[in-house]
Amino acid sequence: MGFHLAEKIKQCYNALHNATPKQKVVGTVLLLAALETVFLFFHDSAVFWILAYGLVTLALIFLVLANIIKKSLAAFFFVVPALAIFSIFYIYPFFKVLQLSQHAWDGISPKMVFVGLSNFVEIMKDKIWWVSMRNAGYITLIALTFQNALALALALACDRQIRAKNFYRVIFFIPPVLSEVVVGLIWRWIYDGDYGFLNYTLNLLGLHQLTHNWLSDPNTALTCVAIIHSWKGFGWGFMILLAGLQTIPKELYEAARVDGANVWQSFKNVTIPLMIPVFVLVMILTILGSMQAFVLILSMTGGGPGYHTEVPVTRILASMQGSSMFGYACAQGLTFGVILMMVSFAQMGISRKLKQA
């Protein structure tokens, strides 16, 4: 019996494995929709929960029994600690988000009020949320252009310098190993309007008209934050790009030079085509990292002045800590997560197209 079930699971798994990407996406969406419908209709009936928990428990007991028979229980003991921590702190929160996003709840009272999808409708109307989205987009844009251009330039420069390469590699990765809190607090002070080092230097250079209250001026605050975010992040891109550049065989450059290519031509025709997978990787990492960066903002500006440096995650934190709307916070988190997933799927699709071309 146990053996039979394992075979069945294997067959299902193989079928899933062989599905095309399109089928996988459609299947996932359908499955989620079905779960959501069941959940919407039955979430407050006790029978639903008893059935759900009962089925899971039965499945677990069955698996354990089947495994005693198969004498592979030892393996389960190896996996159980990881699995327990993972299901309590990852899988449970995952479903808790789904549940809370459809309720209004202040985090304290024992009763949650089911409100269906109205949290999501509320998000659509929430102006500050979309402002925060735009801010995160702006920070990401700066990171994609300025930070990655800097990282690429540095990686190209270091690729030629054999002696000093390790030294620069160590130096450029110092900002990424620092914590966001420390980076934010240091730069907050450097940017300070009255006592900051930046204004001091500008005065020293005779550029009095440029001195500024950098972080409390709505016009400059977001750009300042974005630049510091790029400062903290370019080391990552530099490392990955340099590792990519080192895998390009030197013979290709020599062959290009023998054929009469100049520096720019060999960069365009040798480096770029071979580096496209690395570029896509760095871009995905930059987008996911920059959209979700928020501790730096908490320690630099706290979202101010006004809402000019708010990003989605600080809004989620504010809905939860500031206004005790846990359901709304979860709905925001879910919306944002789905948007991020779509962005990274789009990126992967584009990279696949590029590879085929």
Binding site: L5, A6, I9, N67, K70, S72, A75, F76, F78, P81, A82, L83, I85, F86, I88, F89, Y92, P93, F94, K96, V97, L150, L154, A157, R160, Q161, Y168, I171, F172, F173, I174, V177, L178, S179, V182, L185, I186, I190, Y195, W231, G235, W236, M239, I240, L281, L285, M291, S299, V313, I316, L317, M320, Q321, A329, C330, Q332, F336, G337, L340, M341
Partner: protein, 313 residues
């Protein structure tokens, strides 16, 4: 060397590239130097004296930050959390990775795929349900303790019962909750990293150990773990940096000052004493120095971890 046009442009471009690299390196190091310099100034000179090396060194700022600023407590807390979490991650993830790599059991691929998916699916705001979870379990725990206190009082001395319950409530529970949350944060990456390492390791040594009568657990402990030292070093460094620099969960789970790690302590200090810049800078130096030392000593492992982590993501 002949100075024709070609070598001249080569030298000029080499010079410009070096200038560019040095300027960027300076911006990377300057804020740290300035932070350290400022931590040696006094409240009155810090706003006027902009030099990196102050005239009079006030080393007592570090003593004041450590004692009065509370950074001594924060530092020890950070050290505590980092050691325990990293130890936990190494234990739990190496057990699981060994099973994923060497043993056969139903659902193996599915489970491993689950850990991989957890690494790739972005979950912004996952701190909300975690906070709810930690809070709910705390309430259950408090109720259970309150319900059992009358019975315990009959068999145990009063001081002991109240001492234990308040210890669990104020120290043991929040610390454990935070540690378990942080173990979960580093788990997926570590399992993936170790599994790929175990996969590439030769099986002959383990077979020899098995023939000599070593148990599964013994093989894991005496053969697999010692051989996986390079991968474990990467995991230790990567997770140690991660835990030391973590802020948001510490912010939500740990509310009392004697539980807080450094990052949280910095924000609290900054909120309470916004004007005491020298002490804040000293506190930040205390936060940064261990990380920098670990980084400089172990940087080749960190670089390995980054490239491995990047390939996953």
């Amino acid at each position: 060397m002949r100075l024709n046009k070609y070598t001249l442009t080569q030298h000029a471009s080499g010079f410009l590239i070096n200038v560019f690299l040095i300027i960027v390196s300076l911006t990377c190091v300057f804020p740290l130097l300035w932070m350290f310099g400022s931590s040696l100034k006094t409240q009155s000179t810090i706003f006027s004296d902009m030099s990196i090396i102050p005239g009079a060194m006030h080393w007592e700022n570090f003593y004041l930050a450590w004692t009065k600023g509370g950074f001594g407590v924060y530092f020890l807390n950070s050290l505590f959390y980092t050691t325990i979490v990293v130890f936990g991650i190494v234990m739990v993830s190496s057990l699981a990775a060994y099973a994923f790599s060497r043993m056969n059991f139903p659902g193996k691929n599915l489970l491993f795929f689950m850990f991989l998916a957890a690494m790739m699916i972005p979950l912004p705001g996952s701190f909300v349900p975690l906070y709810v979870l930690v809070n709910n379990v705390r309430n259950v725990l408090l109720n259970a303790m309150a319900a059992s206190t009358p019975f315990l009082l009959k068999v145990l001395p009063e001081n002991f019962v109240y001492g234990t319950t308040s210890f669990i409530e104020s120290q043991f529970y929040p610390r454990t909750a935070y540690i378990l949350c942080m173990i979960n944060v580093g788990l997926s990456f570590s399992i993936y990293m170790l599994k790929t390492f175990f996969d590439r390791m030769p099986k002959e040594l383990e077979d020899a150990a098995r023939i000599d009568g070593c148990s599964r657990l013994g093989i894991w402990r005496h053969v697999a773990l010692p051989l996986a030292k390079p991968a474990i070093a990467v995991i230790i460094i990567y997770n140690a940096l991660n835990v030391w620099n973590e802020y948001i969960l510490a912010n939500l789970i740990l509310s009392s000052k004697n539980l807080m790690p450094l990052q949280r302590g910095l924000m609290v200090f900054q909120g309470e004493h916004i004007t005491q810049y020298p002490l804040l800078m000293a506190g930040m130096t205390i936060t940064v120095v261990p990380i920098l030392i670990i980084y400089l000593v172990m940087q080749r492992f960190i670089i390995k971890g980054i490239t491995a982590g990047a390939v996953v993501g």
